[in-house]
Symmetry: C2
Subunit: 427 residues, 2 copies
């Protein structure tokens, strides 16, 4: 078997360098175009839109990758990769360059290369695997992250490791599977069509051949967070609304305070980036389902019907942790999830949640192998650690098991013509 | 732990008996209503629509369950169940009665019972798990099947076993996992929202508590078959259009010939029903992706771009197996999938395919654990067996592995007020 790479021809007058860095900077806009639009028109459209988008998100904190403040899509395919043995810094740079090119194209609804699935030589394997042919871009976003292990002695990056980028500490109740945790690199692909998200991870994995391989991957559906004011709050697999108090994509002040790494804090290559935490949280579905409604409400601290805090008001009312009932007991239990996760209990810390439900069939015991694939973006890892430690007494912990975990630094979007991570690798 | 059962109250003037058998007979119509519509309005609407639907599908061959000729939805949750030890015929009858009631409601976008997720006593576990609250019915269909093992000596059904209802024979290349095969009962839940399909299987599993438990289950996405003239032909994970020549839902003659069990053939309880075959077919994705485009086309017998037969014409042109190229070689290879599966090579046999793609994360080798969850409905099991034997020489076999298998008899829809399988159980 020989290694095949996507072609990197000049595409109908639009050069590769023009494409790179455009779509990757176009978070939260409708950069994407229909797959049938044809390359030249598609790329030209994308170029204009992306320029506007970059202007829009080029705040003091930098230019951000898509898939963070992009309105959360319906489907996820997340993959963690390890660099293969004996790969070099040059291999890493070439991989990130090839990934940037392909990701930029796919987010515009294009195939991974100019020849794609059917336009190449019949005597060669196609560049693109083809299952997304004819499908719209479906709001695909592709977001790249760099794990702590990438900064060991293999690629000469140790000096550039952000101080906080290390494996998350063990938390009470962790039961982590190494085969569902960590990874040198990660890619979050989100789209409104699962086939489009799967196509992205599959083709990026293929492009990585000989340089990086998948360590683990996870599919998810039914977003569990509200990220724009006009999205209704979705329900998680406990049947409760989830993400009511999430940071909204247009709340620039909250994003700057809680999500983006300021130039003053991190290494220069990470300014305008973020930190991504992934946690595979198995839900003990059958146990939860046999719990009294009042107990479910107490554990969450909100009512199941409306998602309103038990202290009163509607879903969006601020919880009042001092409110008491006729017997003098707090209306919102001290160990409830909403209280322990609330910014008031955590020095004002908020995180941007972007998780998905997962159901991976059935366990050996005939129970649903299901739960929450928790994803959050935050300005520093210690903010997540603070929150997660605060949840050590969470009444919900009885119904959860954390079985996978990972932390990655998410660089800013590349400048036009550059590749993701260029600031880190100096390429 | 105590066993809880869904409430079976009279619901807002619409009795349980009115509901049962209505939605279950409403295949291929827009019976479903929004979840927020309220029970009385919803049920009344469903009742009218269902009556019309029953008239529409009450052909000579009977009244059919939904989810067979219903335009194929985007998402699947399929589950196989085994009856628990020491359960009785009465347990089976009560289970099917409870399942019918809940399924009928859910297909109308309602919760599993009148009190549902939030309307019951706070001191009791809710009847409904709640994660589909606020979601539309999403064209949910729920289809029930009875496996060969249900007709052993446990429930007194041996004399009513259809002659052909036995485990499928071993096929060349089978590598079946017993934990992904067979089952006393099966439920196919299809919907355009995965959360709705998952909610259905989860709640039906919960209702089964103490009587049946899940043996295995499978999620799927991105339908791989075209079932109505206005659906575009989707692509499978090999990147090829799949299901071009499928039987269409409005082709009553072809359905009668190939899908529905005629009264003359089966036991009376199965007249108007069908046989469902499920095969979990792992695709060797990475191997396929490294194959030359010309070889991929040859294996399939169609071109990847358009799905046109290699003998010429467009996607819907009939393949000409006698056409030769300039060198005298057949244009469509003798071992191609399209030829070996074609009715002309199989005594005119056609089956109704209704499969889905699946991606269950990644294998230990870092490869996508992906493939086709093949589902087909046919008038008799031997029709599938004939086709599958014909495929023993299929050139595509090199890239596939059948790892799961099951066969179930799919009874007709119940009469109004009766439960699924009433014809079998005499209940």
């Amino acid at each position: 078997m020989t290694e095949e790479q996507p072609e990197k021809d000049v595409d109908g007058g639009v050069s590769r360098r023009d494409l790179i860095g455009l779509a990757l900077g176009a978070s939260a806009t409708s950069l994407v175009v229909g797959a049938g639009a044809g390359l030249v028109g598609g790329a030209a459209y994308g170029q204009t839109q992306a320029r506007q988008a970059m202007d829009a998100v080029a705040s003091a904190s930098g230019i951000h990758q898509p898939g963070i403040t992009t309105p959360v899509q319906e489907h996820l395919h997340f993959a963690a990769y390890d660099m293969m043995a004996r790969t070099t810094r040059e291999d890493l740079a070439s991989l990130l360059s090839d990934w940037t090119y392909a990701a930029t194209r796919m987010m515009q609804g294009l195939e991974v290369s100019a020849t794609g699935a059917v336009g190449g030589s019949p005597e060669a394997p196609p560049d693109d695997t083809g299952e997304a042919l004819g499908l719209p871009a479906s709001n695909l976003t592709i977001t790249f992250g760099f794990g702590p292990s990438l900064f060991d002695d293999r690629f000469g990056l140790a000096a550039q490791r952000p101080a906080g980028l290390e494996r998350l500490p063990a938390f009470l109740g962790d039961d982590l599977d190494p085969e569902r945790s960590d990874g040198d690199l990660c890619i979050q692909a989100c789209a409104d069509d699962p086939q489009v998200a799967v196509h992205a991870i599959r083709n990026l994995s293929r492009i990585a051949f000989g340089r990086a391989s998948i360590r683990w991957s996870q599919l998810g559906f039914g977003r569990t967070s509200k990220t724009t004011a006009d999205q209704s709050t979705p329900r998680n697999l406990f049947g409760f609304k989830d993400g009511t108090a999430n940071i909204l994509a247009d709340d620039a002040a909250a994003l700057d305070e809680n999500v983006w790494v300021p130039a003053s804090e991190g290494p220069a290559w990470l300014a305008g980036g973020s930190y991504l935490v992934a946690r595979r949280i198995a839900m003990l579905i059958e146990t939860w389902d046999r719990t009294r409604l009042a107990e479910q409400d107490r554990v969450v601290g909100r009512d199941k019907a409306q998602g309103a805090p038990l202290s009163g008001g509607d879903e969006f009312a601020a919880p009042d942790f001092t409110a008491t009932d006729a017997t003098g007991k707090p209306r919102i239990d001290a160990r409830s999830h909403v209280r322990l996760a609330h910014p008031d209990m955590n020095n004002g810390i908020r995180i941007l949640r972007r998780g998905y439900n997962f159901v991976d069939g059935t366990t050996d015991l005939g129970r649903l192998n299901a739960g929450l694939f928790f994803l959050s973006f935050q300005r520093s890892p210690d903010r997540f650690v603070t929150l997660q430690k605060s949840l050590a007494n969470d009444a919900m912990g009885e119904y959860l098991k954390h079985v996978g975990s990972g932390l990655w630094a998410v660089p800013p979007a590349p400048q036009a013509g550059a590749s993701i991570g260029a600031g880190l690798l100096g390429a």
